[in-house]
């Protein structure tokens, strides 16, 4: 999908935008400082699951929106995987048309309230912002503004439902209800298809529900966005594992004309070091699923939880950050990150690292576990850790961590959360031996259409990319919807 430059130009030259640009000189706009997000104080928030960021007020949002100089060539959009018309929605905020701003977001994004909270904006739109690129100054707070507009709409009670084309009477399915599947479903519904989303778990949302914690993304926000899809006619079937509960062939026989696989990268990796299967050592997926999906920390729920006092989380990504901050909230006296590279190389969002530090999380960078020990009941009680130093850059461009001989030492722990990455969910590839996959188990697709080696099967999100991001998954879902629409036009609809 290339940005339709003409369209952007036309939008920019509308009367209200011209007026607005004239009303305040760019030079004056550049004088303003970037707004700070309102946050719940660290000591208060670690005692509950309250959302850390509390959003911007209307006045703050309008003030921040003034900073955007409405560039003739808005490079920020090129940094957005779903190409939100960023200047337009920001200018709508500047003039106080918050509901219209939300509509602009929804033109291209299915889950704006989610993206406003979890996107790594500092690596995407904000990184391409004029301020950042040309002036070396703090970018316009695009993410905060996105969240503001989406929240405003939700709280106003005037949630707009995108227009849906006349029903075509053609059934298509999404396998998985994470951001990829939801974005796909939204676009297909807009085009008039009859969409069913199949989900293996008992809740809709994929990682948004079972992975990302309440203090970063309240479940209610996901539910409301899902409700929006329901209003557009999308059907949801939970507790349904495609390939197990029914095969793709069964579903073809039920009349489904094409499928989108958005089954995610659900399979947790372990390090395969001695003692890793002791009690109290678990994957971040298990830890977060117990807490977020099963509500194990709440007494009235039945799922049990090991509430550690000294918790070590292995890894440096968002998942590791979410786990360690969860541990703190569950009452850990000591909650620490153990990561084999330096802090600059951690893949987590910058904001998560900042928040974690404020909350008293310890960072043991350039350290890696090599062995675990347990008490007589098999519960982990100690770990052996080795120090690392940075060598030459590796394939990822980051400097390779090299173990330092003889630097091993011990840390007493009672809980270890292993968060060293995930592999693609093997359910669909296992059910379809003829499907082409890479040697890592990701599904091979045509990058333009997202079509797989099986013509009526499209795929996107983490099952294609390995562990990536919400917004990339959504971008894939939308691209697959376009590809599938074309495929259906060419094959199914042409056949009489």
């Amino acid at each position: 999908m290339s940005v339709a430059k003409e369209y952007l130009k036309e939008e920019r030259s509308q009367e209200w935008r011209n007026e607005l640009r004239k009303s305040l000189k760019s030079k004056e706009r550049l004088e303003f400082k970037r707004i700070k997000m309102n946050e719940v104080a660290p000591l208060e928030r670690i005692r509950s699951y309250i959302e850390v960021n509390s959003g911007l007020t209307e006045i703050e949002a309008m003030a921040e929106a003034r900073r955007c100089i409405d560039c003739p060539d808005p490079t920020c959009i090129t940094g957005c995987p779903v190409e939100i018309n960023i200047p337009k929605f920001i200018k709508k905020i500047e003039v106080g048309d918050f509901l219209d701003a939300a509509k602009v977001l929804k033109e291209t994004s299915t889950l704006p309230a989610v993206c406003g909270r979890v996107c790594p904006q500092e690596k995407q739109c904000e990184d391409r912002c004029f301020y950042q690129q040309k002036l070396g100054r703090e970018a316009v707070a695009i993410g905060y503004l996105e969240r503001f507009a989406a929240d405003y709409e939700r709280e106003s009670g005037h949630i707009s439902v995108p227009d849906v084309e006349e029903r075509k009477g053609i059934k298509v399915a999404s396998i998985g209800s994470g951001p990829a599947g939801l974005a796909f479903a939204g676009d297909m519904a807009k085009m008039g298809y009859d969409v069913t989303v199949f989900e293996a778990l008992h809740e809709i949302g994929g990682v948004l529900k079972y992975g990302i914690p309440e203090f970063r993304l309240p479940n209610e926000i996901v539910d409301i966005e899902v409700d929006g899809l329901r209003k557009m006619g999308v059907k949801f079937e939970t507790d349904f594992i495609v390939g197990k509960t029914a095969t793709i062939d069964d579903l073809r026989a039920d009349g489904f004309k094409a499928f989108f696989v958005g089954s995610g990268a659900g399979l947790p990796r372990f390090m395969n070091i001695p003692g890793e299967n002791y009690i109290g050592i678990l994957s971040s997926n298990e830890y977060l699923t117990r807490v977020n999906l099963m509500h194990a920390a709440q007494h009235e729920y039945d799922t049990p939880l090991l509430e550690g006092k000294v918790v070590a989380v292995i890894g440096g990504g968002n998942t590791a950050m979410d786990s360690v901050r969860t541990a703190k909230r569950l009452g850990a006296d000591r909650a620490m990150i153990i990561y084999r590279r330096s802090i600059e190389e951690m893949p987590a969002r910058v904001e998560e690292i900042k928040h974690a530090k404020e909350e008293g999380i310890e960072f043991l960078n350039l350290n890696t576990p090599v062995e675990y020990f347990a008490d007589e009941k098999g519960r982990v009680n100690r770990m052996k850790v080795q120090k690392m130093r940075l060598g030459e850059p590796d394939a990822s461009g980051r400097r390779r961590p090299i173990p330092i001989e003889g630097s091993e030492y011990f840390i007493d722990v009672d809980t270890v959360v292993v968060s060293v990455g995930v592999s693609p969910n093997p359910l669909i590839p296992a059910a379809l031996p003829e499907l082409e996959v890479t040697r890592w188990g990701t599904i091979v697709v045509n990058e333009d259409t997202m079509q797989t080696s099986i013509p009526d099967l499209f795929a996107g999100g983490d099952i294609v990319r390995g562990g990536a991001t919400v917004i990339l998954a959504m971008g894939d879902g939308r691209q697959a919807a376009a590809g599938m629409n074309k495929y259906i036009q060419e094959t199914v609809m042409n056949k009489v």
């Binding site: 594992i241 399979l267 299967n277």
Partner: protein, 276 residues
């Protein structure tokens, strides 16, 4: 969906539940299991599908009440609905004509053994089944097993029924009498451990169906992991059946007790509320 259509007590704490799940009834095979969640605040637990009836669109589960969730499930009556039933999960049993099969079930492990015995019999094998329990009233599914076995050997710890002795003694009796080509063992981890040691002595290939703690059942969490042949495997997607001689049962036994204290406390609290 998921409506209970039939319920029958096999013993005081073992109950058979027949539940509507047409899709699962159609696609399930011997060895498969489901994950259920009884109600909104409930946990997800795995249960093997004992049998199914495709025409009625039902699957049969056999539950032993050992804790909160199994008790809540057993407390449901005909007409009630189980909130979530998802499956069929796991790899189906690899069924072939091997010759003579020694099938051993202990305690509630007899329920998951039933479909496997049935499938082996239908594939033309000679099937000898050993059922073991503490006492007579805990022996379940004997008649159903007889239907698909050439012989059923009953072992009880206290000698109240069948022969007195452990499951392994029943197994050795058969092994010493005739050539066994494959053994299948399902039951408590400790029983499977000793059954596996027994067949190892005689070099008989043996499969065990493992009942680890699970959360999602789709390979997403690793709660179910076990060590098999020195490698970590996930029971929910790689299993539940593994080469019993390769399974690290000692580790599995420890892991099964991972949440023991919490489970015990929760069960006591639960029992206190139902008694009221």
């Amino acid at each position: 969906m998921n409506k209970i259509v039939e319920k029958e007590y096999f013993s005081d704490n073992v109950v058979k539940i027949v539940v509507e799940a047409p899709r699962i009834a159609k696609s399930r095979k011997a060895g498969h299991f489901v994950i259920i969640r009884v109600e909104e605040k409930g946990e997800r637990i795995p249960l093997t599908i004992a049998t199914s009836d495709e025409d009625r669109g039902t699957i049969t589960l056999v539950v032993q009440t050992v804790g909160v969730t199994s008790s809540k499930l057993a407390a449901l009556e005909v007409g009630d609905v189980i909130l979530d039933v998802v499956g069929p999960l796991g790899q189906a049993t690899h069924i072939e004509n091997e010759g003579t099969i020694l099938a051993c079930g202990g305690g509630v492990g007899v329920a998951p053994l039933l479909p496997i015995v049935e499938a082996f019999k239908k594939a033309g094998n000679r099937v000898i089944t050993v059922l073991a329990a503490r006492s007579k009233d805990l022996i379940i599914l004997e008649d159903q097993m007889k239907q698909y076995s050439d012989e059923v050997v009953i072992m009880t710890d206290d000698g109240s029924y069948g022969k007195k002795g452990l499951v392994t003694e029943g197994m050795e009796m058969v092994i010493n009498r005739e050539k066994v080509d494959l053994s299948v063992v399902i039951g408590p981890a400790i029983m499977m451990k000793f059954a596996a040691l027994t067949t190892k002595k005689y070099d008989i290939p043996t499969m065990a169906s493992l009942n680890t703690i699970m959360v999602d059942g789709t390979g997403m969490c690793g709660a179910c992991r076990v060590t098999v042949g020195g490698k970590t495997r996930f029971v929910c997607i790689d299993g539940p059946e593994f080469d019993a001689h390769q399974v690290d049962f000692d580790e599995m036994l420890l892991r099964l007790n991972g949440y023991k204290e919490q489970e015990k406390k929760a069960y006591e609290e639960y029992l206190a509320t139902v008694k009221k």
